[in-house]
Symmetry: C2
């Protein structure tokens, strides 16, 4: 896969890509090691600051790496990467360097030590904003501190997991109902 050409985006705009619920790749680094995991359980939790909650099971190798480094990158893959996304979820960073194994291009973060995945449509650099919900819920509350988004196409075709090996692929993007919104609910 060819890396996407990306531009900076306002951090509050991460909702445009994350709120529809795509599978993401969460990348991390700690003490010279790097890792990436497939993640389906996440949600927007605020705009200012730009907060995203991610569920990272404590059995995942990434859990301790992120807990200790306090940073991660949320990367949004497109449908063209679906096989790799599944394969990443099938193995553990305990055993392999997944960047090497799957030919992913690691780019350095500007704000965080975790690597970006160049082949993904977007990468959001995150700092752990609150470690308290981790113990009870494996919930990492991240603040997005830098957003990199592909300049084309306008919207990516993302994959959304239904469980049991079934994916929904994102369909049409439409402003058909935009005129019904109260003006204060729109961006401008």
């Amino acid at each position: 896969m060819k890396p996407f050409v990306k531009a900076d985006a306002p951090v509050w705009q991460v909702r445009r890509l994350l709120e529809p619920g795509p599978i993401v790749l969460l990348s991390s680094a700690f003490e010279g090691e790097r890792n990436v995991m497939t993640l389906g359980w996440h949600m927007i939790m605020g705009f200012e600051p730009s907060l995203v909650g991610c569920y990272v099971w404590d059995q995942n190798h990434s859990h301790q790496m992120i807990r200790k480094s306090k940073v991660a990158v949320i990367n949004v893959p497109t449908v063209e990467m679906a096989s790799t996304v599944v394969d990443i979820g099938n193995c553990s960073g305990r055993d392999v360097d997944k960047f090497e194994k799957f030919g992913l291009t690691a780019e350095p973060g500007e704000q965080v030590s975790a690597p970006l995945i160049a082949e993904c449509f977007a990468s959001f650099e995150c700092r752990l904003a609150d470690a308290r919900p981790i113990e009870r819920y494996n919930l990492f509350v991240f603040e997005v501190v830098k957003a990199h988004v592909a300049t084309s196409p306008r919207w990516p075709r993302t994959i959304h997991y239904r469980g049991d090996g079934v994916f929904m692929v994102s369909g049409e993007n439409t402003s058909r109902w935009r005129k019904r919104f109260r003006p204060d609910m729109l961006d401008e």
Copy 2:
């Protein structure tokens, strides 16, 4: 809209509909009043018990109703309801009975006092499992105690919000990559 014919489903299967990230309608009831709100910020947080986290802003009328009644129903609308979904988000239960205003059929819950919306593809009856994350994050951690899912079609066409009046409509559902999954990651 005609109500869907529904059957009971195992509560852990809510991921099949919620994990892809659709807009949902959250219905509630408290002291003779009922309400429904449009909600985009939610995530699966566990299977056993079946947990779903929902962000309900403290300015929403539903916030106090759910906090006090400790129950709610997560309803999954299809694209045919998109206009109504937007209109529900445009007004407040402080001013109107939205069930009446939008011609929604309220069905009694089996396990909870909040009403189901018959016109939605699925309805998940929820009990508030943990009130602690509400104060800091407006995060309601619900346990799904009963799941009602339409028997047809196999998968609904759901709407997924991108912000700024733009929706993504769910596309193809495919098992194309299922053979790549480790057997222990599938349901059986």
